[in-house]
Symmetry: C2
Subunit: 239 residues, 2 copies
Amino acid sequence: MNFVNDIIGAELKIFEKKFAESVKSETTSLDMIMKYIIKRKGKQLRPMFVFLSAKLHGEINESTYRAAALVELLHTATLVHDDVVDDSLERRGFFSINALWNKKIAVLVGDYLLSKGLLLATSNNDFRHLHILSDAVKQMSEGELLQLQKSRKLNLNEAIYFEIIRCKTASLLSSACAIGAYSTSKDETITEKMKLFGEKVGIAFQIKDDLFDYGKADIGKPTGNDIKEKKLTLPLFIP
Amino acid sequence: MNFVNDIIGAELKIFEKKFAESVKSETTSLDMIMKYIIKRKGKQLRPMFVFLSAKLHGEINESTYRAAALVELLHTATLVHDDVVDDSLERRGFFSINALWNKKIAVLVGDYLLSKGLLLATSNNDFRHLHILSDAVKQMSEGELLQLQKSRKLNLNEAIYFEIIRCKTASLLSSACAIGAYSTSKDETITEKMKLFGEKVGIAFQIKDDLFDYGKADIGKPTGNDIKEKKLTLPLFIP
C-alpha cells in the first residue's frame, strides 16, 4: 500500500509512538504483555482509515491521533478476547496471549486495553468519538450473535447475510471513517457521509473475505472454515 | 437490609424497570438472554450505593438512575466474562451464560452489556460518570493481573495485598459512590470524598470476604478457595 504511505506515512509513524505510549502500564507483567502486543501489530487498517478520512477534510490534529488510538485499542481488545473464545493459539504469526500466558490473563488484558481507550477519550473530552464507537461495539456483538443464531437454525437469506456483515464487520470500519472525518471537520453531515462510505467499504471487504473462503487461493489464512462452522455466506445465495 | 429499603426502596423498584428497558435488544436470541440475566439479578449492591450516595447530597434524578444502570451493566458484563474464564457453570444459583449457551455467546453478551452502558452514558452526556468508571475498569484489570503475578511468585506483603484489593474490589464500589454523589451534587469536592468513602467500604468488604475464606461459617459460597488458588490474603500476614 505504497500510495497510502505517500499520503499518511508520516502520520502513521507518529501514531505508532503515541499508541505504544497509550498502553503503558506500571504493573510490570502487564507492561510486558503490552510490549508483546505492540510487537505483533497488524496492518493497522483501521487507523489508516481514520487518518485518510481525517486528511480528506482538514488538518490532522491531536484528536485524530486519539481517534486512531481509540479504534485500534478497541479492535485489539476484541482480537485478544476472540482468541480466548476460539481457543486460538496463534494470531498474525505470533502466539496468542492465551497461548503464551493464559485465558484469564488474556481476558483481563482485553479489558485493560478497552479501559485505556475509554480513558484516553474521556480524559480529552472526545465524546462524539466515544458515542460513535460505542454504537459500533453494540452492533458488532449483535451481528455476531445474529450469525450464531442463524447458523444454528440454517435459516439465512441474502438480506440477513447483509445485515450480519453490516453489523459485525462494517460497523467498526464505518466508525473509523466517521471519527476520522469528525476530528478534522467537526461537521455532522460530513461525518454521516463518511460513516456510510466506511460501511460500504466494510461490506465489500467482508464479501471478498467470504468469497475467498470458498476458493483455493493463498490468502494468508486457512480457507473452508465458514462451511465447517455452518456460517452461511454470500456464495451460497448466488443462484 | 430493611433500613436500605426504607430509604431507597421506591427508587430501587423504579430502577429495576429502567434497567430491564436499558438492556433490551431487537435480536431475538439476545433479548432472551437479557431476560434471563434480569431474572437472576443479585443483591444490586452497587446500584444501592449509587442511590444512597446520591440521596445524601440532593434529589435523585434521571442521571442518578443512569449512573446506577451504568455501574450495574459494567458489573454484570464482568461477571459474565468471569464465568467464561473460570469455566464456572453456576452463578447466583442459576446456570451461567456459558453453561446454558456457550463460551462464545457469553463473551459477546458481556460486550453487548458493556456497549449498552457506554451508549446510555454517551447518549445522555454523562461524561463525568464515564470517566470515573473507565478508571475503575482499568484499576480492576490491573489489580487482578497484579494478584495473578504475585500469586505465581508468592512474594506478597501486606502493602501489596491492600493495593490489590483497593484496585480489584474497592475501585468499582468507590466509583458507584462517586457517580451517585456527582449525579445530585455536581460538586467535585463532594464527589472526591464519596469516592474515598466507597474505597474504604470496598476494602473492608474484601477483607471480610478474605477472612471468611479461612473459616467454616456458611457464607453462601464455598470456602478455602484462596489457598487452593495460591491467592495470599490478609490472614496470612497476621503474625
